[in-house]
Symmetry: C2
Subunit: 201 residues, 2 copies
């Protein structure tokens, strides 16, 4: 696997995306390697050719794939939280993204399947959370610089709380199918940011 021909890279990608799609539709516990092969018109030797460690390596690759999507799906709003209307528009995008996704969170599914024994999976999630939180915190700092948020507020801690609310909202949605909690958490988080702002000069 040192060198991949174009054809090889395409096959690898097809397997990866096929696995991701299957997981999004049926969950990870139901995913068998043969399912992926059938869906992607590939054979077992190919799968093990591109993912020598088999199922585990494939799942980890899916986790990375899905983790990348999460932040991308919030662009460009996430990187540009420089006005209250931008925050609102980001909030709407997040809600919409997860509403579309439905009850199944592929990333949570994969990581909870890989579990403790695979530190790699946790690293993927941890890094995602750090990047996500950092981007939110940047937005908070922007608003502080603009005098819209109390400068005494700790941006990282505020971002952490907001991120936790999002994660929990999505988690609850996985059971209830409703985005009420996600929306409430986002609205409360943003309201809290606005509440403590200095009086307009």
């Amino acid at each position: 696997m040192r060198t991949l021909t174009r054809k090889g890279a395409a096959t690898r990608q097809r397997i990866l995306e096929g696995a991701a799609a299957h997981i999004r539709e049926h969950g990870v516990a139901d995913m068998t390697l043969d399912d992926v092969l059938a869906r992607t018109a590939t054979s077992k030797s190919q799968l093990f050719h591109y993912f020598p460690d088999g199922r585990e390596e494939l799942l980890l690759a899916v986790a990375r794939f899905e983790a990348d999507r999460v932040l991308e799906d919030q662009r460009p709003q996430l990187g540009d939280l420089t006005s209250w209307s931008a925050w609102q528009s980001w909030r709407d995008k997040v809600v919409d993204r997860y509403r579309r996704q439905g009850r199944l969170c592929p990333l949570n599914a994969v990581t909870s399947q890989l579990g403790i024994r695979t530190p790699g999976a946790q690293a993927v999630v941890t890094e995602l959370m750090h990047r996500w939180q950092a981007e939110i915190a940047t937005g908070v700092r922007h608003m502080q610089d603009a005098g819209e948020i109390d400068p005494a507020l700790d941006p990282d801690r505020a971002a952490a709380a907001l991120l936790a609310g999002i994660q929990g909202g999505v988690l609850i949605q996985m059971s209830t199918g409703e985005t009420d909690h996600l929306e409430a958490a986002l609205d409360m988080g943003i309201a809290h940011l606005r509440a403590g702002r200095p009086a307009p000069s």
Copy 2:
């Protein structure tokens, strides 16, 4: 299984708690029925005698078992959120509970394993969330009656947001091992409740 003798009930309970303990230690994917049997000194026929639908029924029972623990572990504080110091003490108890529990959340593990195809698992979680949210909302109403929280605030929505923060904080803890997000979410949620309170007469 219509009637259980005392001995039978004890065996059933032993299997249930053994399974729960194994899941808490090793995760659900690693749990095999033989593991449970070995740990509880029982035999396969007993397991299927008390859980005729086998693994799935056992996991569902574990989910219920763990769900009950969650709220019980927050007593008596959760049922008595009638002063700010009570809220703070509840907050500390929640953080402490999840810090003890460590990276593995048995309930999340079990439900994400049972997944979509078992509506029962989702029902267990959904009901837990409803009860939890209702108890928090009751606390909010108490504080509103006491004039400590803005009466214009929607108690259910505030409770939903706070609950989402908790869930997300715990979820993030499962990857990072840290309770920072959980604490930030709780603190922000409670701060938000206090922030909008009417000026003391």
